[in-house]
Every structure is written in structure tokens, then in C-alpha cells.
Amino acid sequence: MDSRAARLRVATALAGLAAILLAGCAPPPKERGAVPRMVGRDYVTCGASQGITGLSRPDEKGVWRGFDVDVCRAFAAALLGDAKKIRFIPLNAAQRLPAVQTGEIDVLSRTTTVTFTRDMAIRFVAVTQFDTDVLIFRRALGAATPKDLDGRTVCLQSGGSSADNTLTRVETDEKIHFERVYFDSTITARDAYFSGRCDVYVTDGFLGASQVATVARNPAEHTLLYLDHLLPQGVAISRGDDRWFDVVRWTVNLLIWAEQNGVTQANVDEQRRSGPADVRRVLGGDPAFGRAIGLDADWAYQVIKQVGNYGDIWDRNLGPATRIKADRRLNKPYKEGGLQFPFPWDV
């Protein structure tokens, strides 16, 4: 008995020692940050939604299509020179922030509203879309203002969505009350509304417009009542990564700048050859631009060539030629009364 106990103690001590040694051998933190990681494995991982036509959804051939997805492709084109070097990971609302925090995804581009509390946990880099919430309900209800919807049942996504907060604000402002029914994703919430479970469905504006336009059996049956509470939707990365922050921020800026300076996917070759001097500088004429951000000199050209500018991306996924025909509203260039404006490249 005694000898057994003694042997056990020896075993434990040995084990402890070995553990300390092994833990000491644990790989030391390597070069930190997302950029070396992405360059090393030669692709970018991007957090997408679980399937919203026009924003992010794999088509029948398995190719991801949508505005948010194309914005992500621009990052791959900028960093790796190839917009195809990207993998999309579908996430629901509850998974998206942890996925950024833990480094599972390099960048989140999935209709996520920029807020103070979220920005303290992850790092928002740029606003890609200005949106507002929308109340969707059947035309037959005959409602014209939120007040007319008092006491109605509302389907929405759980997981602390901005729609939930907006609804509470509407309740307080109008002194009305909604019955809420929560679902684990916008897709189940949407299906519940279409099946008649709720009178009203509340969600982000463009997302709702897309769902009505592409999933409703008869889109004309539904009324979309946009609320006026602004939701700036941004792309986000994990905190403490300046290098990747630079790439993401200035790629988004490039998309907006290109549209407002007449550089499109169609004319980018011509612009690079014979455009105005400042345009040519950005598109690779000034190697200092690439050097400063740590990218190839022609990174901006590759982005526009492979993905297009902000307007190209919009038109391809949400524009008049698509089924969604979303009104750009606040996302027009500032000269046309919108909120989108580029930061200058140089003084």
C-alpha cells in the first residue's frame, strides 16, 4: 500500500515535469497578424451569411454571389493578386462576432452594423453599405405607418440583431407593442413570415428587399416600410492588426474612389494606360503606393480589373438589371446626394 502510494507520487511528479518540458516546447508565437497567415496559405477566409441573394449566397453552381461576397473578393485580389483565392464561411448572427474574434475568419463581410460595443470586441474597418431597418408586412393589412401595426406579431432573427433594438425603439416612440417571435437565422424568420406565422417581418433593409424580391411567391403582396434609423454596415477584422486593417480599409476606399473617378471594370485597362495622372498613379503608376501598404504595385488595378468598382459590384448584385432592383438610396456617391465618399490618396 505504502509503496504503491509512493510510486503514484513518483509518477505524478514525473508527469508534471514532462508536462512543463512539453509546454516549454510549445511553438512560440510566430509572426503575428492575418497577412502573413493569408499569404502563407494563399487564400483569404471571409465570413458570409447563410444565403441572401444579392448579398451573399452560393448559386446553383456553387459559386458565391453577392455584394458582400464581391467586397471580400476585392481583398483577395488586393492581397494575393487573385480574387478567386478566397473561401467563404457561412455564419449565423450569433456566430459571426466570435468567428472574427477567434480568428476563424480573416474578415467579416456580412451585413453587420457598426456599433460601439461591437467595435470594442472586433475591429470595424470601413462602412460598405448604409442601410436602415425595414418592416415588411402584407399589403392586405393596409398599414401606412408603424403605429398601424400596434399589437401585431413580428418575426425576427434572435442573437441581438439591430432589428430587435430598432423594434424596441419604435415601440417606445410610438407607444405601441409588438409580439415578437425569434428565430435562429434570418432564413427561418423569413420562412415563418412568408408562411403566415407573423404579420410583420423586420430585418435589414437591403436584406429584406432581396428576400421579398427573390423568395416571396408574389412580391407585390408585401409592403416594405423603411425606418429612418441609420445602420452603417461594415467589414470587420480582429483587433490589433494594423497591417490587415490597412489593406481592408484602403481596398474599400479604392472601390468607392474608382466609381467616383470614372474607373470601371470595363475601362480600367484604358485608364491605366491613358487616364488622368492621379488615376494612373493609383492604378500602379506610382510604386510608392504599393510599397507603403506592402502590396504589389498593381494591386489597385487587379482589384478593379477582377472585381470592379463599388458601382460595378452594386449593379451586378443589387442593381436594376437584377431581380432585386434595390434603390441605392444613401449609397450613392456624395455628389449625387449619397453618403459614399472616398478618402484622398494623397494631398
Binding site: L8, T53, T102, D191, V215
Partner: protein, 357 residues
């Protein structure tokens, strides 16, 4: 609870037994009428919906427009998308081949005649082969990341690999839990009990969301394999408890006999104890494995495209009138075939081993 219901029937001619069973006593007459009424009132509308008023072909949206029954046309038209998810369409032959290979191998290896050591080698070769085919990226095959895998191949790969991998681990855990080495025993008990305390959903949640924070990147598998490992560990904990039940039922004499023959620990376990212990628990092993097959459906919740989520994705097509019940029934039929087939096979195996002993 009546006497008649609790007691097994006395042996009698089949037809007399049938008649007596249906109409033998006032209670049985009442039950027969009640059940017949219930079946009729449920089955009639079901049959009308699923068969008589249903439409199967042509497989286009127009076919379902004025149909009051089931719209199987949708399943016919979308079967590719439901079965193979968002895997690139021009490469779809690869998941098809993978499913065919896995199903054929499963069927083949379930026959006791195939149980030779070579079987293990076949699987050890086949599984990486199947994965390589899914991945591609060699010999002119384009690379397809796991984020694009979906539908039936995902369900099959998860099932086969998770349960196949869990089995040997479960044996080790079961032996470890009954080991005379206190440290080994404690570790096994801790692992088994903690895993069994948690719902699979929370384990999948930890694997898909938390693991990237806990492990260095070099050791971190992608989301698909994280879910796979979570399923494997979960299955191992449950299978280990089933196998332990078998080990506990082994008479002491078996150990002593093996010791008398001079067999060491591992040879005793491998040749004497485990084969008998596992034979004892085949019924509960079967039901545990069936539960684990069904559990693969939970990966949907952490965002993998299994059968349910690819079915849901197919349903989002506005051209169709969203025939959700038909789609889910189709998926349920696939799971049912997998689980029921396996259960039947295990039953046959059990009665065989009973006959031979």
C-alpha cells in the same frame, strides 16, 4: 395495464392468433376498432396528399401550380442540389462517386464474410481516397474546399469517419475506465462523463467557434474537420459506456483463464475479452450507432451544408411554391434508409451469433 397486454401470447396457429388478437375479447374488439378508425382518419389524407393528388413529373414549377397534393416534382428537379449542396456543378460526379463508393463499401463490409483484417486495410485506403477525391487539387481535378461540400457526401463522410474512428477510441476508453492504473482510470472517467454531460450541440459550438482561440494555428483543422472530430469524440464517449457494460458482464473466469494461458494484458483483451464483451452488447451498440448517425444532422446548426441545410437552400427558390414538407420527407427517407438498414443488419447479426452459440 391488463394481463393480456403484459403477457406474451401463448403459442397458437397463426391465423387463429390473428383473429383472436383482433376480436378475441371485448377489449381487443374495442382496440381494433379504435386503431382502425385512427389509422383511417390519418392515413387517408396522408395517402391522398402523398400519392393520389401528388405530382412527380414533369420536374418544373408549372407542374405544381394547381396541385393539392405533394409536389414531388420539386424533389425531382432539385435532387442534385439537395444531395450534393453547393459543390461545383461540373464536378458533381466526384461527390456522386464518393457516395457510391461509401455506400458500396458499407454494404460490403457489413457482411460477416468480409470481416478479415484486410477489411481494415480497405477502409484505411478508401477513406483518404474518398477525401482526396472530394478535395481534388491533383491530376487535373480542381480543388474544392470543405466549405463547398454539402449534402449526402457530408452526411456519409461524417457518419463513417466519426463512428469508425470512435470505435477503437471507445474500446480504449472502456478498457481505461476499468483499468487498475488510477491515473488512466481518472482521465478516462473525466473524459467520458464530461462529454456525456454536454449536449452535442454545445460541443459542436465549442468546436466550431471556440477552438480557434484554444489551439495554435498549426494544429487547427478547418471547420468541417473540427465538426468531424467533435462528432467522433462525442460518439466515442457513448460507445465506451456501452462497451464497458459488456466488459462488466464478463465473468472473472475469463480473465483467469487467459492469465493461466499466459496471455498478456493486450492479448487477453484483444482475443478473449473484447470480442465476447462486444458480442454481448450488440443491441445497445446498434442503437447508440443509430443515434450517432442521426446526430450528424446537427452540424447544420454550426453552418455546415448537410442534407437539411442544402434542402433549405433549395427551398429558397421563388419559382417553386416552397414545398418544405416534401423536401424534409425526402431527407427523412434518406436518414431512415441509412438507420433502418443498419438496424436490420445488426439484428440479423445478433440472431446469427445467438444461433451459432
Amino acid at each position: 395495464m391488463t394481463d393480456a397486454a403484459v403477457l406474451p401470447p401463448r403459442p397458437a396457429a397463426r391465423s387463429t392468433r390473428l383473429v383472436r388478437g383482433l376480436f378475441g375479447s371485448p377489449l381487443n374488439v374495442l382496440l381494433t376498432l379504435l386503431v382502425a378508425w385512427a389509422v383511417w382518419s390519418l392515413a387517408a389524407p396522408l395517402l391522398r396528399w402523398a400519392v393520389f393528388d401528388a405530382v412527380v413529373l414533369p420536374a418544373n414549377p408549372a407542374a405544381c401550380r394547381d396541385v393539392s397534393g405533394a409536389c414531388w416534382s420539386f424533389v425531382a428537379a432539385k435532387s442534385g442540389q439537395i444531395l450534393f449542396g453547393i459543390y461545383p456543378i461540373e464536378e458533381r460526379w466526384r461527390p456522386m462517386l464518393v457516395c457510391a463508393v461509401l455506400l458500396a463499401l458499407l454494404g460490403w463490409s457489413l457482411r460477416p464474410a468480409a470481416w478479415r483484417p484486410s477489411l481494415a486495410i480497405v477502409w484505411v485506403v478508401a477513406l483518404p481516397g474518398v477525401l482526396m477525391l472530394m478535395f481534388g487539387g491533383f491530376g487535373g481535378l480542381s480543388f474544392v474546399a470543405t466549405t463547398m461540400w454539402g449534402g449526402l457526401p457530408v452526411t456519409l463522410i461524417l457518419t463513417v469517419t466519426a463512428i469508425g474512428g470512435a470505435f477503437p477510441l471507445a474500446m480504449l476508453l472502456a478498457l481505461g475506465r476499468r483499468s487498475w492504473l488510477p491515473a488512466i482510470r481518472t482521465l478516462c472517467v473525466l473524459f467520458i462523463e464530461l462529454t456525456r454531460a454536454l449536449p452535442l450541440l454545445s460541443i459542436l459550438f465549442i468546436a466550431s467557434i471556440m477552438l480557434p482561440l484554444l489551439l495554435p494555428e498549426a494544429l487547427l483543422p478547418d471547420k468541417f474537420f473540427r465538426a468531424l472530430i467533435a462528432l467522433l469524440l462525442f460518439a466515442a464517449a457513448y460507445l465506451a459506456e456501452v462497451i464497458r457494460g459488456g466488459l462488466q458482464a464478463m465473468p472473472r473466469g475469463q480473465y483467469e483463464a487467459a492469465e493461466a494461458l499466459g496471455l498478456g494484458y493486450w492479448r487477453t483483451q484483444r482475443h478473449v475479452i473484447l470480442p465476447q464483451a462486444i458480442a454481448i452488447v450488440i443491441p445497445s451498440l446498434t442503437s447508440t450507432i443509430i443515434v450517432m448517425i442521426k446526430n450528424t444532422s446537427l452540424v447544420m446548426v454550426v453552418g455546415l451544408f448537410d442534407l437539411i441545410s442544402s434542402g433549405r437552400a433549395a427551398l429558397a427558390d421563388p419559382e417553386w411554391s416552397s414545398p418544405a414538407l416534401e423536401t424534409y420527407a425526402f431527407i427523412a427517407a434518406i436518414y431512415f434508409a441509412l438507420c433502418f438498414g443498419f438496424g436490420r443488419f445488426a439484428q440479423a447479426l445478433e440472431s446469427r451469433s445467438k444461433d451459432s452459440s
